[in-house]
């Protein structure tokens, strides 16, 4: 039987999941009824956001010119934060369908994903989707693809995943155009782990592609990065229902179950070999996932103390079973009490985790403003990596502060170029290049400190470009700059969660602006609350929140008793998403004000 291993890659919302469903349906892997829901995305949250967070692999069969083909398709995460996961999934493939929405054209992640595929020597098959829509411009989009990616416009296929038009032709084409998997290059068994999920009933399910040799049920397997071993208890394929097999051979894709307890034991990109006959060298490309955005989660003050922290702890542990790509460690802050400091692949990843904690874990969470990691060069030439401004050593020991720099690629309409460049400049961006994508759109390259784009940059970009701008980012390294720690004191107490590391030239201005915003966000208390911004112990700005002077119901007579009593009771319940800092109540919104850089 012929085997084709491929992925579908696309910019978010360009129809990747719909196309996947349609492929399953046309190959009769699922019934029409089942196809109504997008099968590959299982979490509510994914469906709501229209993105795929976790990859899965599905095997279907297709007949072409009388020959039977086993098609293994590997779904990839669709968002910029999951670069590494996408790249591992692509390593398991030999070809990739590049889906482009024919009404939207090439977008930032189209380009980024296409480059990833090319880097992995994948055969690319561009497909123009949504040709049933009135706004479809397949010819123009095909030209964009040729222009930007160098794929001949006439090679683009056209389909509508929604109506099913062109899908059979696509299946035929991928049998022809994608290469078969390579043969074994060594005698020992090597399988690439490209995904793993936690299943409540079955434990950890690991998705693998066999590159060399064979893996059989009963084998003692070994993870090459950790050296740990397990017995393979089950092998199989998702068709999309789990179908057990006795062995997986070279070139095949499937899942393995080996009573692995936690996702921490499984590293995406790692190589599985046999304990008895281990390979000398792992498959290339394994990396530790990079956590680039950090924040703290605290239970909000509304609940009972202690109990809320326990609930949060349980929720985080449970979530981590499903998503090992975020890190967490217990953290205690003078101002905010007990919570967790967590690391994420990116901003979206952070938001998803926070939402899932609240939705699935039932905890009310206060999130501190996200920060990025910094490399600190000490005077004794040691280098320290910190992910929390609070950990910055005394400046007398610090020779340099280096911050992460990312290359961002923005695709936007011509008319927004000026504003987008202004936005990038205001975020300390360094202009790299500008290319035409088509008559109407351009690609901008900038190098920007990650810290400048983690909060509202993307939203601003969207609003400047009226929704048409898209962006991708990639870490290129750490760079030293004149950075200082701006500390915020509320009622005389330093609130580390409000401290930011920022550029010296803008620190004072930023401090002043921040205090003004904070003053508006913190409600009046019964006492006056001084707010101060300080750099290196020197106060550079000050604001005051005046005390509440009067809070008394004017009229209260016989007919008012019940209603006024209920009003008072309601107020005493306390507000959600509030945190006490000393005796000052600070809302989630107030914490986030530190991040809104720039304009009023």
């Amino acid at each position: 039987m012929h085997i084709r291993n491929f992925s579908i890659i696309a910019h978010i919302d360009h129809g990747k999941s719909t196309l996947a469903d349609r492929l399953l349906q046309i190959t009769h892997a699922v019934s029409d009824r089942e196809a109504r829901a997008q099968l590959l995305d299982s979490m509510d949250l994914e469906r709501e956001r229209g993105i795929t967070i976790k990859a899965s692999a599905v095997t279907v069969y297709h007949e072409y010119k009388g020959e039977r083909y086993e098609l293994n398709f590997i779904d990839t995460p669709g968002h910029v934060d999951f670069h590494y996961e996408v790249s591992r999934a692509l390593t398991a493939c030999d070809g990739a369908i590049l889906v482009v929405d024919s009404t939207q054209g090439v977008q930032a992640q189209t380009v980024a994903n296409a480059y990833l595929a090319v880097d992995n020597s994948l055969e690319l098959l561009p497909v123009l989707n949504k040709t049933d829509l009135p706004g479809s411009m397949p010819d123009d989009v095909a030209m964009e693809i040729e222009q930007v990616l160098g794929l001949p416009a006439e090679d683009c296929m056209r389909c509508s995943a929604k109506t099913g038009e062109g899908i059979l032709e696509l299946l035929d084409a991928l049998c022809v155009r994608f290469p078969p998997p390579r043969d074994s290059v060594i005698n020992e068994t090597r399988c690439l782990i490209f995904d793993a999920i936690y299943d409540d009933y079955r434990g950890i399910i690991v998705f693998i592609r066999v590159f060399d040799g064979t893996l059989r049920v009963g084998d003692r397997m070994r993870m090459m990065s950790s050296g740990r071993t397990w017995n393979v208890t089950e092998l199989g394929r998702y068709t999309p229902k789990a179908t057990k097999v006795g062995e997986l051979n070279t070139g095949e894709v499937g899942y393995l179950i080996a009573s692995i307890k936690t996702l921490d034991d499984v590293r995406i990109g790692d190589t599985v070999t046999l304990d008895a006959h281990p390979a000398a060298e792992a498959l290339p490309g394994y990396q530790e996932p990079l956590r680039m955005v950090f924040c703290e989660f605290y239970p909000s003050s509304s609940g009972e103390k202690g109990a809320e922290f326990e609930t949060l702890r349980e929720a985080i542990h449970k979530l981590h079973l499903n998503d090992a790509s975020f890190t967490f460690e217990p953290h205690h802050s003078e101002a905010l009490g007990f919570g967790f400091r967590c690391g994420f692949l990116g901003m979206l990843h952070m938001q998803i985790v926070q939402e899932r904690l609240e939705r699935e874990g039932g905890v009310d969470v206060v999130q501190t403003p996200p920060t990025v990691p910094y490399e600190i060069l000490l005077r004794d030439d040691k280098v320290l990596l910190i992910n929390n401004p609070a950990d910055l050593p005394d400046m007398s020991h610090v020779a340099e502060i280096r911050e992460p720099i990312v290359r961002i690629e923005i695709i936007c309409p011509n008319e927004s170029i000026g504003d987008v460049m202004k936005l990038c400049d205001s975020r300390r961006g360094m202009y790299k290049s500008q290319k035409f994508l088509s008559d109407t759109r351009q690609i901008l390259d900038y190098e920007v400190p990650l810290a400048e784009i983690i909060y509202d940059f993307y939203d601003k970009l969207k609003s400047i470009t009226r929704g048409y701008g898209t962006m991708d980012w990639e870490l290129i390294g750490y760079r030293s700059d004149r950075l200082v720690k701006l500390q915020i004191l509320v009622n005389g107490q330093t609130v580390e969660a409000l401290s930011v590391i920022c550029h010296r030239d803008t620190a004072e201005q930023r401090g002043r602006r921040l205090l003004i915003k904070l003053r508006r966000q913190i409600e009046r208390h019964q006492f006056e609350i001084p707010l101060q911004a300080a750099i290196g112990g020197k106060v550079i700005a000050r604001e005051t929140i005046k005390a509440v002077r009067k809070n008394v119901t004017a009229k209260c007579y016989g007919g008012d008793v019940t209603r006024k009593r209920k009003l008072l009771e309601k107020q005493k319940e306390g507000k959600k998403r509030m945190k006490m800092v000393g005796n000052v109540q600070i809302s989630q919104e107030a914490f986030m004000t530190v991040l809104e850089s720039g304009e009023e």
Binding site: R524, K546, V552, A554, K555, R565, L568, K572
Partner: protein
Amino acid sequence: MSSGAGRIRLIFGQPSSLASDPRTSGLSVRPGQPTMMPMDHKLPIQQAKSDGTIASVLLKVEPAPSVSSLYLHIPFCFHKCHYCDFYSLANTNHEDFVGFVARMGQELEAAGRYLSRPLDTLYIGGGTPTLLGPDLWRSLIRHIHSHVHLAPDTEWTVEANPETVTPDLMAVLAAGGVNRVSIGCQTFSPTHLKTLERWHEPSSVVAAVESARDAGIENISLDLIYAIPGQTLGQWEDDLSQALALHPQHLSCYALTFEPGTPLAVKLSRGLIDTADADLEADMFTLTRRLLIDSGFCAYEVSNFARAGRESRHNLAYWLNMDWMACGPSASGHVAGIRWKNRASLSEYLHTSTPWPTITDLEMPQPARALAERLMMGLRLARGLPYESLLADAEAIGARVSFVAALGPLIDAEHVIVDQHKHLCLTEQGLLLADSVFRQLMSAVFDPNC
């Protein structure tokens, strides 16, 4: 009258802690009268449906309550003022008035069985009670005398809107036994009256006061409102001076409240008007107290000021959490620990088959709630509440420890004190932050473990 201080309802029965307090001497206290309902009273919890009448609930209370305060609600106005959230109808006619007065006669007859003889206080509020002309008032007064026993020292208040006050009407009221009028003055500034959508001329207040005095009603209260959008401290001081020039025995001065659903609240939410600056409002509050105390008034409640001995005895019954009966649509009553509100529907009131109106918001006795309400109402009074008796009430519901614990920081912050009469009182500073004080004390009572 929409603004009115005393609106609603009637009184009877007193908390035991008051009985021996000489400062409550204005209130008649009968020996052996039930105080706050003991919890072992058999009460008809099952019958406590909100679509019933209060009669079916009170029937089951043993012994039958005897209440010494009564509130009557007259739900008519010539025009609805924009800040007012009381139940009152503006598009009514004389026929409605006639039907209403007759209907209230029936309700008074039925309520009479729970009223003690004689009544201590009677308060007729609205709406605009004085919108009923002299003839209808004669008829209402006849009903009252037929079913309610009054004594010469019964405090009988009628709320009056200045534009409806005539010498004839005042004469009818005085002859009937009314001895106190509460006039809705609000402000003397035509601009601010316009903001409030009050349709009277400032001069009509002067005339109304004269009419009442000429008729022999000496005990006059004026209602004023401050912190009106656009009002300055000086303008408010001027309002106070003009009010003082009329030599009232009593003044109620309220910071303007934007009650949900009123036209004024809607304007606020649409940004058409703005609330007064918080600091200005606090300044006005402080100025009011200073100026009226300097003028010989006693600041006996958060918003109420009286010449010696002229405190509103009826409203004291509310603040002291005593009992009162309530008649008329939307009126609220409190008897034997039971609270209820008559349905706010004139048409339903006019057409019920029983003399009792249907009720809503029925609350059966509950000791923790009773203590919370006692605190929330009683601490509004300058005299405060007897500390030992509060402790005893807290003890009875197992909340003594938490109550005392909640008091600690409030005493430290000088928001409350226990004075030389062993009364727990708000301090001048605590008074300004009363709601927050109440909240803390109430949560200690409701949730002793917090």
